[in-house]
Assembly symmetry: C2
Homo-oligomer: 257 residues x 2
């Protein structure tokens, strides 16, 4: 397919690379930051354009991969007639594109993507949506060319997947940071925790996480919880409330009817 990309952030970068690698033709790239657009264009052998109006309508698909709150404005500035138009947002309804084209859809990669971190795109679940069966088929074919996990979900289910992803990835990563803060106060190397982090994630690959929970909170071991809170109050007081909330959440989850 001939594809143009609006945006040059984490999602735009990985989608452009994945579709280029799958043999598609990345035609043009526009971004608020022309320097970023140029870099991405260089890596995908496409053309960076300075003004959004310069995106040419002679393409099969335009992908809007920008911040959620910029999608509506970007869509209204495009002048692509009835070219297929999709956004890549987990938490934005497909309806936001209504009026911008007769052919609209969503293509949401369920993965944590950082520009400068390579990822095996063939295992990234791609969630697609359209109000047209024809477009669903086009997006399925496109998504399948880059990933082995393609699923059609409506806007509400996609929102729930995004919420779940925030828990399982964004919040999880913030707890890795919290753990590092604790070790930093003692001059201990974060490296010591990496086998534990890897094993915890590995268990979740094969188990129901509910069934492999360990630690003081699931045992309702108040003596240890108290010791930990005392330690935190002197070493990293900014983490005390977080420890309490998460412990109480686990206690409620397992011990309340």
């Amino acid at each position: 397919m001939r594809i143009s990309i609006i945006g040059s952030g984490n999602v735009a970068t990985h989608l452009a690379a994945a579709f280029a690698n799958a043999g598609h033709n990345i035609v043009q790239i526009w971004s608020r930051d022309f320097h970023h657009a140029s870099l991405l264009a260089y890596h995908t052998r496409s053309e960076a354009v300075e003004r959004i109006e310069l995106i040419d309508k002679n393409i099969d698909l335009a992908i809007i991969a920008v911040k959620d709150d910029a999608i509506a404005n970007i869509a209204s500035q495009l002048n692509l007639g009835n070219t297929l138009l999709v956004h890549t947002s987990g938490s934005t309804s497909i309806d936001i594109l209504k009026g911008s084209s007769a052919k609209i859809g969503v293509l949401y990669p369920l993965q944590t993507l950082s520009k400068d971190k390579e990822v095996d795109f063939s295992h990234v679940p791609l969630l697609i949506e359209s109000n047209s069966e024809e477009v669903v088929q086009i997006l399925k074919d496109l998504a399948s060319s880059a990933s082995s996990q393609v699923l059609e979900v409506n806007s509400e289910k996609r929102l729930s997947l995004h919420v779940a992803a925030v828990f399982a990835s964004n919040f999880v990563n913030s707890l890795y940071s919290a753990a590092k803060e604790v070790l930093d106060t003692q001059g201990l190397d974060f490296q010591l925790l990496r086998p534990l982090i890897a094993e915890t994630a590995r268990k979740a690959q094969h188990s129901n996480p509910k069934e492999v929970q360990t630690g003081p909170a699931i045992r309702n071991d108040q003596a240890t919880i108290h010791k930990h809170l005392e330690f935190l109050s002197s070493a990293t007081p900014q983490l005390q409330a977080l420890y309490e909330t998460l412990s109480q959440h686990i206690i409620n989850f397992y011990h309340k009817p």
Copy 2:
């Protein structure tokens, strides 16, 4: 070494297996639950004993691997003269063993261990402590026979590592459960999140987690946070406060001076 083990839970089971595999002689096992002790004894070709007083003093080391609040009581019931005695607790000072033997120490495996989940023990950090240089050397040799990661840390540093481990493993796993709860309400398969969970942990193997944080909270994207809280309030209200606390924690961590 000739080693007897007090306990038959997750830590006792994995330590017994690891030291047996490393060529040590597991002599006797006692546990509150004789059936569990017998099973572990069967797997490590050792003898299960019904009463704790039957643990024979003709050994080089007794390992107390029981719940933290049972250590003191168990130690006082042993009658092993000055046999080397260690506990395996992250959050318990070595001092709890004072008076039970002249040779005491700690051997704490920094890993999430579930009885029925195999783990590559050679990568489990083993943290050791003793008030005697001679015992430190004995424990270093023993630990090194089963793991490539052996480190001497005092009781305060060990406590900080346990607290950090609770954040990086126990709390993380509870967030995997929370994510599953969200998907369950929509009839979506937890399998969809597994690539994301694996990638999030993989990133932390090579990066400082602070530098690879993604998601609505680090962008202080209040519109998306609000959408997510609205979704949670109807689908899984028990997760709403947790979402708010964690989002606010991330916002404070990155956006407050």
